[in-house]
């Protein structure tokens, strides 16, 4: 979801990336225990713009990092991947994993002074699943409506507790509630506030809004923030932060080196050289995310030529993933061995189609026998982005070698996004899938996220399109879909992994989509920035130091100028 409506032209360029083994990805924070200083402001350069802050506005990567200074999530993810309560204080579930009772943490206030309570939680969940949109009370949920379609009811049980009923049992419901850091705790006044929902973010976070534009977000300290640091001092330490959208990589690098920026974020897609350069700079600390981001080549199973399995096989066999990873990613990430990475529960090398030129040619020939036509398809790239063009050209080279004709479609980012989700392209590259769990994987590879619920609230409405809109390959595979739902209902971790693995194998054998290499993100900061990754979670444990949405700014402080 994060990339769906991203503003930067890097969007599609960002899609294909890779690298070396990600063993070094979690760099330990600075060890010397210094006393945090209060005050100071930071200037942060990011590579995504701000499309807005309402339910359907998908903040991507680095702009999500900025948005998360204003907003928090009901639950948080620990470094071990486990989801724990955050703005919630407790979560209980029924033994069949179909009822979830969520209890709100007392004493948390929104920036507008209203308390976070059961009503606020109900408003948030009903807005995300589109119930308020149907009543005309809130703007569109956008793709969140598809993500949350397994929810059948949201019931307030007390002033601080809410019960959520699901259609299909879901062991990992909290992952859905987290949505990879995207399902914010929004103030009801924002959600129900009419025309200002996208432009006036009101959350519970350590910082609150000063001003926002497409290319900038300025936030200031929230003096009544609910968390305290271990010594009991108030948080956050910083007075304010300015996030600036800098699409040119060179602008971010020179901004850091000239001290115009304190922090800047980068992606392994097209910025490897800059990341490596900053790693050598002794005035900078560079931290990297785990290699948990899985850009896909989506093959449209609904229309020709990829409605034919032979065509899908031919393309999947033709891509030399190791070579691509060397040429385009400088071996900074790893070449793919499955449609998801080793960190993911669905990872399974079985059935994944690797480079084999002879088999590619055979499959292309089989396609010709089957249809009487030569295999030919079109592939969009972002016009004006050197990386995007070079990525596409590299793939085109492999296709040509296998006797497949690949036409390049130069399009603007807006055109690509506008047509990607009605699934109009024959094939395209886009990073959607990520993480260790499946909340941010399954919606992209299932045809009905409501689990076949015929009485779901969106079923008879135009919004029913959201059930399958995220599946860019536009395929319906009952075998893999059933396996995924079975796995979601399975409490035993080992059995769950086995079921997911089978689903992956099914999708890979059918060549529904493929992956070339994985991707990661990096963040560079000047030495005067302290406290990165040091503040723990409220209920113990640490967050992930670095993710696609960067770092947490609550415990960050600044020493000296």
């Amino acid at each position: 979801m994060k990339h769906l409506f991203r503003g930067g032209r890097r969007k599609v360029a960002a899609v294909m990336a890779v690298a070396l083994v990600a063993s070094l990805s979690q760099v330990a924070p600075t060890s010397a225990a210094e006393t945090p200083k209060t005050g100071g402001t930071l200037s942060v350069g990011i590579f995504d713009s701000f499309p807005g802050y309402c339910m359907a506005d998908n903040l991507a990567n680095s702009s999500l990092m900025a948005g998360r200074t204003i907003y928090e999530t009901w639950v948080e993810q620990r470094v071990d991947g486990k989801i724990v309560p955050y703005v919630l204080s407790a979560v209980e579930n029924s033994t069949d994993f179909k009822q979830w009772k969520l209890t709100v943490r007392p004493g948390v206030l929104f920036h507008d002074g209203t308390p976070v309570n059961a009503d606020a939680l109900v408003t948030n969940l009903q807005a995300l699943r589109g119930a308020l949109t149907l009543l005309g009370k809130a703007p569109s949920p956008g793709t969140a409506g598809g993500f949350t379609a397994n929810i059948t009811e949201v019931i307030k049980v007390s002033d601080s507790a809410v019960q959520v009923n699901l259609y299909r049992p879901q062991v990992d419901f909290l992952e859905t509630l987290y949505a990879s850091g995207r399902f914010f705790v929004r103030a009801p006044s924002q959600i129900l506030g009419g025309a200002k929902c996208s432009t006036t973010p009101i959350g519970t976070g350590p910082f609150k809004l000063v001003s926002t534009k497409l290319n900038e977000l300025v936030v200031t300290k929230n003096a009544s923030y609910w968390r305290k640091d271990p010594s009991g001092a108030s948080l956050p330490y910083l007075d304010g932060i300015t996030f600036t959208f800098l699409v040119e990589t060179a602008s971010r690098v020179s901004g850091l080196k000239s001290k115009s920026l304190d922090i800047a974020m980068f992606t392994s897609a097209g910025e490897v050289k800059q990341i490596r350069d900053l790693q050598k700079n002794k005035n900078m600390t560079v931290i990297e995310s785990p290699e948990e981001y899985y850009p896909s080549i989506w093959l449209n199973n609904r229309i020709a030529p990829f409605s034919s399995k032979n065509a899908r096989l031919a393309v999947s066999y033709a891509i030399d993933r190791v070579d691509y990873n060397k040429v385009r990613n400088r071996d900074y990430v790893s070449a793919a061995k499955s449609i998801v990475g080793p960190a993911n529960i669905m990872y399974n090398e079985k059935g994944f189609i690797q480079y084999d030129l002879k088999k590619a040619k055979d499959a292309a020939a089989a396609y010709k026998t089957e249809t009487g036509k030569d295999l030919e398809f079109s592939f969009p790239y972002t016009a004006g982005s050197t990386e995007s063009l070079a990525n596409a050209t590299q793939i085109q080279k492999y296709m040509t070698a296998a006797g497949i004709k690949m036409n390049l479609l130069p399009l603007t980012t807006a055109e690509i996004i506008q047509r990607a989700f009605p699934q109009q392209f024959q094939a395209m590259a886009l990073l959607l899938m990520e993480g260790a769990g499946t909340a941010f994987i399954a919606p992209f590879i299932t045809s009905d996220t409501s689990g076949g619920n015929q009485t779901h609230i969106l079923r008879k409405t135009p919004l029913a399109v959201l059930y399958g809109i995220l599946n860019l390959s536009a395929f319906t595979d009952t075998v893999s879909e059933d396996l995924i739902w079975q796995a979601k209902a399975e409490p035993n971790a080992a059995k769950r992994k086995a079921l997911y693995g089978k689903a992956t194998q099914q999708i890979q054998t059918e060549a529904r989509l493929t992956t070339i290499s994985y991707q990661k993100y990096a963040l560079a900061y000047r030495t005067n920035v302290k406290g990165v990754g040091e503040l723990g979670l409220t209920q113990g444990g640490q967050r992930k130091l670095m993710t696609n949405f960067g770092i947490d700014f609550t415990g960050v402080w600044k020493s000296g100028k």
Partner: protein, 320 residues
């Protein structure tokens, strides 16, 4: 007589604004996909119909234009549409416009301040080595795109020598030096190309003027070269220069997209680009309309000035 001329001229320029904005309206009708569909990607047909009628697209091109114009004249430049609501274009422009205005003014002042002496001097030394050196150096510089100059400046001045900040804009209220510090590099990058073009124009016209009989006469009367150059030759030679400078105003306000992006100045150019890439057609129409108004105003000013600088042009115009 002169008042009537300027009145007529103003009417002519109003027609320009009309043509530009009406052209934008027509373009809106030519787009194969309905704007409501783009602005509300997951909206219901009813929501889209509501938006279409609110924007006025159901009234046909002329009805839509009249509605837009009525609002535009009253200072309502329309909205930028988000998935969850909207924002007035005017609130965006309130931030972006001053930035672009200063950028444009400084760029023009710097470019003219350098180009005028260079142009006069190289015309005076026409054909000599100084002339050719100036000319070739300027041409070499003008063949480097402004964004490449900007990147080199950032690397040398910002990163290596740490003299100037490489990003951001500061208003006057943060201090005059802060304001200028952030403007120097963008202004210099935009000026280089203009200096070459202005010097070139002035030089060509000066050479022609210096061959005029009255110049020869002035020289034979024993007036100093400096006096002849500046008092007698420069004024009548500068009409093309200032005409060209006025032409660049609109482009500098709305077209400095790449420079605004590199230095994070984010003025009107970025708003234009954002409107195009985000398919915010109504915002685009209003911003382009505003740019054309400014363009027209500058041209009117230069027109008046040209009549003052070279009275023959004015008389010819009035007599026509």
């Amino acid at each position: 007589m002169r008042a009537a001329y300027y009145l007529q001229r103003s009417a002519q320029l109003l027609i320009v604004v009309f043509c530009v904005t009406f052209g934008c309206s027509l373009l809106l009708q030519l787009i194969p996909v309905s704007p409501a569909e783009i602005l509300l990607p997951v909206g219901s047909p009813e929501e889209r119909a509501l938006l279409t009628s609110e924007i006025g697209l159901d009234r046909g091109p002329i009805g839509y234009y009249i509605k837009w114009l009525g609002e535009f004249v009253r200072g309502d430049f329309g909205d930028i549409y988000y998935s969850g609501g909207r924002e007035a274009v005017s609130s965006r422009l309130a931030v972006a416009f001053p930035r672009s205005m200063w950028l444009m003014i400084y760029t023009q002042v710097l470019a003219l301040a350098i180009a005028i002496p260079l142009g006069v001097w190289s015309a005076y030394r026409v054909g000599r080595r100084t002339d050719r050196v100036i000319s070739n150096v300027l041409f070499a510089l003008s063949s480097v795109p402004s964004f490449a100059i900007a990147l080199v400046l950032v690397l040398l001045v910002g990163v290596r020598w740490q003299l100037l900040p490489t990003l951001d804009y500061q208003p006057y209220s943060s201090g005059i030096w802060e304001h200028f510090k952030h403007m120097i590099m963008p202004v210099v990058s935009l000026s280089v190309g203009l200096i070459a073009s202005y010097t070139r124009l002035l030089r060509a016209d000066m050479i022609a003027t210096l061959r005029e009989d009255y110049i020869t006469m002035a020289a034979s009367k024993g007036l100093s070269d400096r006096r002849i150059l500046w008092r007698h030759a420069f004024r009548p030679s500068s009409v093309t220069l200032f005409t060209s400078a006025a032409l660049n105003m609109g482009g500098l306000i709305g077209g400095a997209i790449v420079i605004e992006t590199i230095f994070a100045t984010y003025g009107v150019g970025f708003e234009v680009f954002a409107a195009i890439s985000g398919r915010q057609y109504i915002a685009l129409q209003s911003i382009v309309g505003l740019i054309s108004i400014f363009y027209v105003l500058f041209n009117l000013i230069v027109d008046v000035a040209a009549g003052y600088v070279d009275p023959r042009t004015r008389d010819r115009r009035i007599n026509a």
